[in-house]
């Protein structure tokens, strides 16, 4: 049957008339349902996250590449915020002491004889190592993003100078992060800027990681040597932004510093490429590397709190650099005299290195007398009094001088090394007699290490620990570098392992104490009798 449109309408009207009552009953809810559906049925379920940006928003404009590098710097320096393992390495190096059990200060790293590092998921202080490990790799990832964008994808962060600064900043972060990873852990990842990270990567050993770090430093130096620029102010919070020249000098010193500090023992130290160290330090830094701490992105907890009279104290090992007659540890009974300050002026409070504190109220005897000391580090009191806000030295220019002196000594250019040492703070501040040009290499090196302990006080990341290990001077059983953190191993589904402990003293991963500062592998701070109360 064929119906015209009119027919259809007539039929419909008829139907409606017939079913008027019924239709009315149905019409109301249908209308309501239609209204409701029209309000919501096209509900858009795509919601943006207004709280955090994603990559698209972070890289909305080419200039944003700078922001990524700034973020990479913040990430690189993140481990200085909080007590991460630079603090713990300095404990293990018998540089600082304290009885506070906070973050495992003394119960892992200061136990004598030494015990293994608990690299399990159960260790409540496991992030001591996992935070630096993760942050440094994250910093590399940020740097790689920028390097890839500029070098591979040919994006530009701005003018040639800005672009060069951004690229140099990225390579510098990459180099630094690799340097810290190599010198702190036994293994780490080497991720190239073009690496496909959806593929599983293997860990590389610390020598390979250091080689990659050195290559990255070379890239920084090459960029700095070819383009003039000033680093954007939000890269590193230096009092004034670094120029390409300053950055190149800093890169050279750090490259040398990392190279030297990568040695795990005396044998490896002798294998260091000292010629390269010498070459790098020839054009190394001439001014202290200072970062203005702001209490937020830029912090350095280890240094900031040094001014607190009852917190860190100076281990007797360091005091003995200036007064060799001072006991290796605090006695179990009685109180201890002040150290002799006639040998080295830096023992005098007026020179601003160390301060004598009479109270041992916070140094619990039942945790071991060896943890006590009357001296604390007073070089950074001003920063402490300013609540950790203000300039903080991350690497002294003196580092470069001492590295250079050491390279000369290692290359048997003793008189030049002696000359450098005698012109330094050893004599100008410490008022020590100059070393004779006829000094032996060992005497020169010993003097250098004393200077490094006193003059580079608490700078860099575990600097004193890394010095101690390359001389085999750590106590037997002290960890020489950290295993890959348990959380990373577990994520990789690999077996957990650890280092440290007297039983594991192999001289490769764990100190054998062959040249222990206490006097050999079996030496302890105390002789005879039970010293624990």
């Amino acid at each position: 049957m064929n119906l015209t449109t009119t027919d259809k309408t007539v039929k419909m009207i008829k139907f409606i008339k017939q079913n008027h009552r019924k239709m009315k009953r149905i019409f109301v809810p249908l209308l309501a349902a239609a209204t409701l559906l029209s309000v919501v049925s096209c509900a858009d379920l795509n919601v943006n996250n207004p709280n955090n940006p994603d990559t698209r928003r972070v890289l909305a404009t080419p200039a944003d590449l700078q922001g990524i590098v700034a973020g990479a710097f913040v990430t690189l320096y993140n481990p200085w915020r909080g007590y991460q393992h630079n603090v713990h390495m300095e404990w293990a190096a018998d540089y600082v002491t304290m009885t506070n059990a906070f973050r495992g200060f003394w119960n892992f790293f200061k136990v004598e004889p030494r015990v293994p590092w608990d690299n399990t998921l159960a260790n409540s202080n496991g992030d001591i190592t996992s935070i630096p490990f993760q942050r440094w790799h994250a910093a590399i990832s940020n740097a790689n993003d920028v390097i890839r964008a500029i070098e591979v994808n040919r994006q530009s962060a701005g003018t040639p100078a800005v672009n060069a600064a951004t690229l140099a900043g990225a390579w510098f972060v990459r180099a630094m992060a690799l340097g810290y990873l190599a010198t702190s852990f036994d293994r780490a990842y080497i991720v190239s800027p073009t690496q496909d990270i959806s593929q599983r990567l293997d860990l590389s050993n610390y020598r390979e990681v250091m080689a990659e770090a050195q290559r990255s430093f070379d890239r920084v130096i090459r960029i700095c040597d070819s383009v003039s620029f000033t680093l954007p102010a939000n890269f590193i919070n230096t009092p004034s932004p670094y120029t390409n020249t300053q950055l190149a000098r800093l890169a050279r010193t750090y490259a040398a510093n990392f190279l030297v500090q990568n040695a795990r023992n005396r044998r490896e130290n002798s294998q260091t490429d000292w010629n390269r160290v010498l070459a790098l330090t020839e054009q190394g830094m001439t001014q202290d590397y200072v970062i203005n701490l702001d209490g937020n992105n830029w912090q350095n907890w280890f240094v900031e709190i040094a001014g607190l009279e009852w917190y860190w104290r100076t281990d007797h090992r360091v005091i003995r650099h200036m007064d060799p007659t001072y006991p290796t540890g605090y006695p179990a009974t009685g109180t201890l005299r002040r150290a002799d300050s006639t040998r080295d002026a830096r023992m005098r409070e007026t020179t601003g290195y160390f301060k004598y504190e009479s109270s041992l109220a916070f140094f619990r005897l039942d945790r071991g007398p060896q943890l006590r000391s009357h001296y604390r580090f007073s070089r950074y009191d001003e920063l402490y009094l300013a609540n950790g806000v203000g300039p903080c030295v991350f690497l002294y220019a003196e580092t470069n001088r001492l590295l250079r002196a050491e390279a000369l000594a290692m290359l048997n250019r003793i008189p030049e090394a002696v000359e450098l040492l005698n012109a330094g703070r050893r004599t100008t501040v410490g008022r020590r007699p100059p070393l004779p040009p006829t000094a032996t290499r060992e005497e020169v090196l010993n003097a250098i290490f004393v200077e490094r302990d006193l003059e580079l006080m608490m700078t860099d990341f575990g600097i004193h620990f890394k010095d101690m290990r390359r001389r085999d001077a750590l106590q037997r059983g002290t960890i020489l570098h950290f295993p890959v953190p348990a959380i990373e191993l577990a994520t990789r589904q690999e077996a957990l392992y650890t280092y440290g402990g007297v039983a594991a003293a192999d001289g490769v991963n764990t100190a054998d104490g062959s040249n222990s500062w206490l006097g050999g592998p079996t030496a302890t701070r105390f002789t005879g009798g039970q010293t624990q109360p």
């Binding site: 309000v39 955090n52 059990a101 004889p113 015990v115 409540s124 994250a138």
Partner: protein, 1064 residues
Amino acid sequence: MKKVILFFITWLFAVGAYAQERTISGTVRAAEDASPLIGASVQVKGTKVGTKTDVNGRYTLQVPADATTLVFSYIGYRTIEVAIGDRTVIDVSLEIDAKMAAEIVVTGVAEGTPTKKLGFAIGKVDEQILKEVPAVDPANALRGKVSGVIIVQPTGIPGTAPTIRLRGSTNIQGQSEPLIIIDGIITPPGTTLADIDINSVESIEVIKGAAGASLYGSQAANGVIQIITKRGADNPNATDFTARTEWGITDLQRLYPLNKSHRWQIDPATGDFRRASPTGITRVFEPDQLMDNPYPGQVRDHQKELFKNRSFNQNYFAVGATGKNTNFFASGARLFNQGILELTPAFDRYNLNLNVDHKISDFKLTGSFRYTNSVGPDAIERGQGGPFYGVLLLEPDFDIYATNPDGSPYWAYPGQVPIPGGRPTVAGNNAINPLYSLSTTTFDLRRSRILANAALSYQILSWWRVEAQGSYDRAEEFFKQVTRRDTYNNNMNAYTGGGLTQYEDLDDGLVLTANSYFKQSFGDFNTSLTLRYQFERYTGNFARVSGSQFVVSEVPQPQALTTTTISNFAFSADVRAENFFINGIFDYKEKYIFEALVRRDASSLFGSEARSQIFFRLSGAWRITEDIEIPGVQEWKIRASYGTSGQRPPFIAQYETFNIVNGVPVKDLLGNNRLRPSRVAEIEVGTNLLFLNRFNAEFNYATATADDQVLIVPLLAYAGFTQQFQNAGQMRTNTIEFSLGAEILREEDWKFNMNIVGSRTIQEVTQLGRPPFPTNGDFGVAAAGGVANTMFRIEAGQPFGVMYGNRHARSLDELQVDANGFVTNLVGLPRGVLRREDFTINSDGYVIRRFAPISTTNFANSTNPVEGTINERAWLLADETGAPLVTKIGDSNPDLILSISGTLSWKKLSLYFLLDTQLGGNIYNATRQLLYFNERHADLDQAGKPDDKKKAIGYYIGGLTPGLGIGLYNNNNPTEHFVESATFLTIREINVSYTFDADILNTIGINFIRDIRLSLVGRNLLTFTGYTGYNPEVALAGNATSFRVDQFTYPVFRTFTAALQVRF
């Protein structure tokens, strides 16, 4: 012939029918509003002859001639019997049966459904029980009343609702709190029940499992709690007034056991502690290192000085009316709870409720409006800066009321700076005077909430009804913590400058729902079908500012802070969801019941490639007693259900995110556009049994698998982004639960009802798509968690709530030996030195060595015995590397939770009680561990101990001493020594009351009052436990039911009150 016979037979029957039957018709209505009751049963007594009323409440029934009585029944109404007599028209009105009405449930089902027709378990607490001891909030009201409900009050801070878990945890990482529905309004996660007044609550329904909760799809993996408030009056065509007032005090049942002795030398010249040096403040310890010396001079109990009996009261007024077409209920309530902590403000809450229902022909309009406003305290718990730390750490000889150098009250740090004229302090006691802390740091926590709901229902046809509903929910929270500018630093030589943290959180929720209900009977088959569309939108806005160092005094505002210290944080969320479901119920003669549900959820919280998800349920029940008559059994039903529900991921989970750290972006989360809600599939089987007209039993077994857990998975370090939310991991839980109600006495004067509920749940992580991880249960918020930070191990194959840590050797059998007999597995003991026989068990049951080592380097035996000397130490077991063995040391999960409640009445006097018990399960007493370190725990008190059992201080807290062992304190690492049993028995609620009813009141000439009830009420009255802390009810907030740690919290307290209720 055939035809003749057929005709004859037909005639015979027809005549017979004509002679024996007659027709009776009539209408069945509800007494309260004369509305027709549809589907009411009309039956000839003693026969199977019967029918059901139609949509107009009408019936027509052919009854045998000898029929004398008709039985009218309708679910929720009292069954009545009516003599037929000569009548052919019989109209009846049925009265609501309060007891039976309770059997109608509205949660987990599309429409109000009698429990007898349910294929899954539902718990219900009705007003009869709720009114006995009106809890401070609905969460507390559920305690001990529904099986399978686990409730832990992690803190005593007034205004904090306890944590509720229904059956097992379904969420490895995140909350296991159930979905809260208030009168049909779905509330967003994080809704606190602390804001709801229990007096206006009619009933609470609890769906414990994922199967029952399938109706709520991706919101309901943790089960559902629905609060149903009162509507109308208690009686039809009446207006009721109720006024209730309750007054009383708070009280702390038990104090923390503390050390009353010390180990210091007393200077005979001064009678005071001997000083180490003339200028120093350090004391000199006695050579024996035993804490057995009484303090010189006056000692005080700081706990009694801090925890006081304070005021608790609540007042309530309600008016309700039920009319022909309209009923309403309005109530107002105030709860005033000062808690037990000195110097803190009370939790002061006001509630207003208005419920209105109105009927116009086929339309029914329902509206609710609920407003809550509260002001309450908060307190610094857990950490070392708060009053709960200070009160336990300060030595008992300090006068915490001493005046500070600046004239302000409460000497700030008596443990660090001696009070003039007071005693020199002990080394390193960093405790703050709790009263100073409370007087200088103040908290202000304000919440307000509006819940409004309107629904319009329209009965289009007898079998078709539609309904539209809209609800709006606004929650606002304001928090401010201010530390005064002139607050001393801990050396008391300068002021800290103070500081401030404040935040405001504003959440809005809009839920629009359209329902279509179809109901039809086909002979003995009854069917009902529901279609629902629901749109949800929640927006949240949070803004926080904090900073320190006020530049002026008494201006507690952010602008008065030093600019460089100020930090800001804001967070907004926008969540949208669109859900549809279809639900059908079919039954045959109400004895075989089958139900099916399919739901589709689409939510903005799911990854863009997983936007919609399907959930479903199938359930069935067989009412056996409808088919088989069993003597003494009134009703026996068996049922089974299988269903799925889920839990939505958190807002940020799907997104790739950079954190903005002071202006620079830093990679954080890797996005996941395939992120799905977690999915819980549950099988529940159960049975309900009513027998001997006195007993009502229920038993359920539920097994649930929670798949696709939304977990933060750490990424390999080179990924740049450090972590990602992934659907990884699976949990399994098994629960058995039972309840038994009994009407033990129902004499004229004596009545005794009792109810027992119990459950046992086993919960286990069965798969984990990431490395095992340690947690404090607070997931990502480890602030001040201390020892608890990594105690709980999330690992495949492990119970959820298992504690890991070190253990000190307790038996010589635990000592492993090498081929030469040398012990190999003790921390700090080199191999090849000592044999098993060189060790013994001390009076505490720990392994110690018999003889001290020769020296610190030669660990061989000397001739000096160890026990009782300063060399006594226990030994930690070591793993093969020599590091402390990390092993299972405890489990938070209880073996059984059981409650018994009952009402015993004699005439107008009644006694209601609720006993609550937990058997098994552990609490980690981290408070105790830290008190060891600070030499304040009673365990360290050697006074009164026999000499051969005395232990020196090093035994308790000494660090690792190679060759000797390590103190029990174990450097604040998780240690089995501090794992305690959580078993307890609590008299949770008591109410002794007397009712003066109208008869009595009339005799004294009062005729306008319905009744007056006088009660004596106790809450959390008495706890019996071996647990040594304040109360076994303690946990870190977060996931309090699975992670039980005691760490300097506000103790849970009790209240004693008297109440008066008058009804007009």
